[in-house]
């Protein structure tokens, strides 16, 4: 389990920590510049993208070196730079970034794998007319993902999280003219949204309880002792403390993003996007963001655990992870699309990572994340190379015999496949998966996850063998002959293949460098690490399982290659199992009947309300006003105008009457004169009498 962490808090951040914000900022700025480029300037866009990510990689390596340096001198680094963003009264909302072993490792992984995939994309997307848009979105994604990695504030993480989700939507629906791609993008966004709602709830609750969203803030951060103690003291519902409840809410958000069991439905459909997108986002980085989030808030998830025990939150994480691992592996067995198999494999491996976090701690889960990033990206890029070489064919039943036509692809793909299966000793997947299995074996709550994970490993080996046999062995079943991909695509494959083999070395029990690095402890090389009780037995068990899976797969699929329309070998054996698995265990249909149907019904209700009730209110108000307007007009025409007209008529009549005085006769005028004079004189005399 998690050992004691000994970090020295840094009051003054080092210079590399101060400029850490550049790592996500440079790709985002590059994305903005590409968006504003006038004509399709393909070379400029690609250069900007790759250059910006290259800069980020250099800075990430510098940061990593700094952290390693600190660790080597037994002063483990956790440097934070925090800024106040909003001040409301006495509460602040702060943003900030953190440089510690966890973020340093993720920075290097994301930028390195990202850079390789960017370079690969220049070859893969060379014939696409929306080349510049692709690189704009890719850069934006890279910046956002790096932002998620370095953020020290749950709010900043959430913002970058949403941005990552947005770019995922944009990239899945890159070929938006295809209805299936647009629908897949929408599905991805909405499904992760469901998780994000819970994430937001958890975030708000955390802020309300602790008053801060920063993770580390010289003792007053939300992952630090004071805040955690306050959260533990606060009870929530169902026997949970506030810490546990918030942890579960945040896990719900991670479950959406990382495709855990109820919310996994978007990941396979996300294969509608271009293959580099699938490699980068839905294998190596974005889906790993959920796992990274759990690793970041691990102190919260683990708060209140007694020595050797665990918390409710972590238990839930484990069960969900283990179920996902098994579930997805089952479905992957019966798929025919080369990318879809890999997608379900990703879901399965994410389940492994979550289970590893839940049972073994941050180091166990994160190690598998790092190794998985490399070999899964490798596998996806290899699949892309195969698709490209087979002229955009994606059905494995129409491929075959490619090991002769595409040798480089075959070798690198084989390396990736063996790493994924966990082939012993030489491949990194073996060591990372074994770390998880070891933790599962020693889990105090139940043994079921262990058996589920072992069976999942068997299935992994089985379906990967099936896929490789279909694609690379046998004879060619397609239409046009296949060709190897250009160097710009195969060189990244080779680099990733190298790492897929070598990375295992940093996590073996003989030299547990990865775990020690993350926990800030010493790491010594020593074969005594293998002397742990049960470890060698476990290694043997997993080896047997892998070979069993490989053998089964080879027996069913490795011999003569079947015809295209012939039913699958497994289908011939157990047809109803095959049908269920092929239809993805009917999860999508279930959602369609329950959630979607309810949502449609609710939308209809809302529409009726809107048109009849609210609309009715508005219409009646308008009707009242119409009535008032009519009344007004009536008054205006008849009363106001009428009286005015009448007045004018009276005036005219009066004028007519008065004008009769002017009758043109002199004597009449004289009379009036005399009368006036009389009157004047009378007035004068009367007034002068006073």
């Amino acid at each position: 389990m998690q050992e004691a962490i000994s970090f020295t808090p840094q009051i003054i951040a080092s210079s590399i920590a101060k400029i850490l914000w550049l790592i996500p900022a440079v790709p985002i700025v590059a994305s903005g510049v590409i968006a504003l480029l006038k004509q399709p300037k393909r070379k400029t866009a690609a250069t900007l993208s790759i250059g910006s990510l290259g800069v980020s990689l250099l800075l990430a390596l510098a940061a990593f070196a700094h952290v390693v340096n600190g660790w080597a001198h037994t002063a483990a680094v956790r440097e934070t730079v925090n800024l106040t963003w909003i001040q409301v009264g006495r509460t602040n909302v702060d943003l900030g970034w953190v440089l510690d072993p966890l973020s340093a490792i993720m920075l290097v992984m994301v930028s390195f794998v990202g850079l390789l995939i960017f370079i690969y994309s220049t070859g893969y997307m060379a014939h696409d007319e929306n080349y510049t848009r692709f690189f704009c979105f890719l850069s934006l994604f890279a910046g956002a993902m790096l932002g998620v990695v370095i953020s020290n504030s749950l709010l900043l993480l959430f913002m970058c999280w949403e941005l990552v989700g947005l770019t995922s939507y944009l990239l899945i629906g890159f070929w938006y003219q295809k209805p299936s791609a647009a629908a897949a993008a929408k599905k991805a966004f909405l499904t992760t949204r469901v998780g994000d709602v819970f994430f937001l709830l958890g975030m708000v609750w955390l802020f309300a309880q602790t008053g801060t969203l920063l993770f580390y803030n010289n003792g007053s951060g939300s992952m630090e002792h004071g805040a955690l103690a306050a959260l533990l003291a606060q009870p929530a519902a169902l026997g949970l403390t506030a810490a546990g409840a918030i942890g579960l809410l945040i896990f719900a958000g991670a479950a959406g993003k990382s495709g855990q069991l109820p919310l996994h439905v978007w990941l396979p459909d996300a294969m509608e996007g271009p293959t580099p997108v699938s490699a980068l986002i839905h294998a190596a980085t974005m889906v790993a963001a959920g796992v990274y989030l759990i690793a970041r808030v691990y102190p919260l998830m683990q708060a209140g655990a007694l020595a050797g025990g665990t918390t409710t939150a972590l238990t839930v994480v484990t069960w969900v992870g283990a179920s996902t691992a098994l579930f997805a592996a089952l479905i992957a067995v019966a798929q025919n699309d080369i990318k879809r198999i890999l997608a379900y494999s990703t879901v399965s491996q994410l389940g492994y990572m979550m289970a590893g976090l839940g049972m073994g701690g941050v180091a166990v889960g994160m190690f598998h994340l790092i190794t998985h990033a490399f070999f899964k990206a490798l596998l996806f890029m290899g699949a892309g190379s195969v698709i490209h070489g087979c002229h955009e064919e994606q059905d494995i039943r129409r491929m075959g015999g490619l090991k002769a036509d595409m040798p480089l692809t075959f070798i690198t793909y084989a390396i990736g496949m063996l790493a994924l299966c966990g082939f012993p000793l030489a491949f990194s997947g073996f060591w990372s998966k074994d770390g998880i299995l070891e933790a599962a074996q020693h889990w105090s709550i139940a043994k079921a996850p262990f058996y589920m994970l072992v069976f999942g490993a068997l299935l992994t080996a089985f379906y990967m063998t099936r896929q490789v046999a279909y694609v690379f062995f046998g004879h060619w079943r397609g239409h046009k002959p296949a060709h190897e991909s250009p160097a710009v695509m195969t060189v990244p494959l080779a680099i990733l293949g190298f790492f897929a083999m070598v990375l295992g070395g940093i996590g073996t029990p003989a030299w547990p460098w990865f775990r020690a690095f993350l926990n800030g402890q010493e790491a010594g090389f020593g074969l005594h690490g293998f002397a742990e009780p049960g470890l060698l037995a476990l290694m043997a068990t997993s080896t047997v399982v892998v070979f069993l899976g490989l053998g089964l797969g080879w027996r069913l699929y490795g011999g003569d290659s079947p015809k295209v329309e012939a039913p699958d070998a497994l289908e011939k054996a157990v047809p109803w199992v095959w049908t269920v698995l092929h239809n993805k265990l009917y999860v999508d249909e279930f959602y369609g009947v329950t959630v979607i149907a309810f949502y449609e019904w609710w939308a209809n209700v809302a529409d009726w309300l809107d048109r009849r009730v609210w609309g009715g209110v508005v219409m009646s108000v308008a009707w009242v006003f119409g009535l008032l307007a009519q009344l007004n007009r009536f008054l205006d025409t008849n009363v106001v105008d009428g009286s005015f007209d009448k007045g004018c008529d009276e005036l005219a009549a009066g004028g007519g009457l008065l004008s009769r005085v002017q009758n043109g006769r002199v004597q009449a005028y004289l009379r009036i004169l005399a009368l006036a004079v009389v009157a004047l004189v009378a007035i004068l005399i009367w007034s002068s009498r006073a």
Binding site: S659, G664, V666, Q667, L670
Partner: protein, 103 residues
């Protein structure tokens, strides 16, 4: 009734009579006659006030009356000339029928 008051009453009577004639007779010449009567009544007033006034040796009243007589004569001449001209044009001196200036 002082003498002055008597003369003033006579003048008032004459004035009223002249006015009545000017206002009620049809013939234009009769109107002029009435006007002459009014002027004369005014003259009588003037002389009366001169005689019983404070400074008769200043001759103000007398002069006024003399000038009034002169002006009245001129006015009568012009007025009657007008009446003759109208008669030549309309062949009548009936004022009731002369309403061309009717508004």
């Amino acid at each position: 009734m002082t003498p002055l008051a008597g003369y003033l009453m006579v003048a008032a009577m004459l004035f009223a009579i002249g006015l009545a004639g000017a206002l009620t007779r049809r013939n234009a010449i009769l109107v002029l006659i009435g006007i002459e009567l009014m002027l004369n009544a005014a003259n009588l007033n003037l002389i009366a006030f001169w005689r019983y006034g404070p400074h008769p040796e200043a001759l103000t009243g007398m002069m006024f009356a003399i000038f009034s007589i002169a002006v009245a004569a001129a006015e009568a001449a012009v007025g009657l000339g007008l009446v003759i001209s109208i008669h030549r044009h309309a062949h009548t001196t009936d004022l009731d029928n002369m309403n061309r200036m009717k508004g």
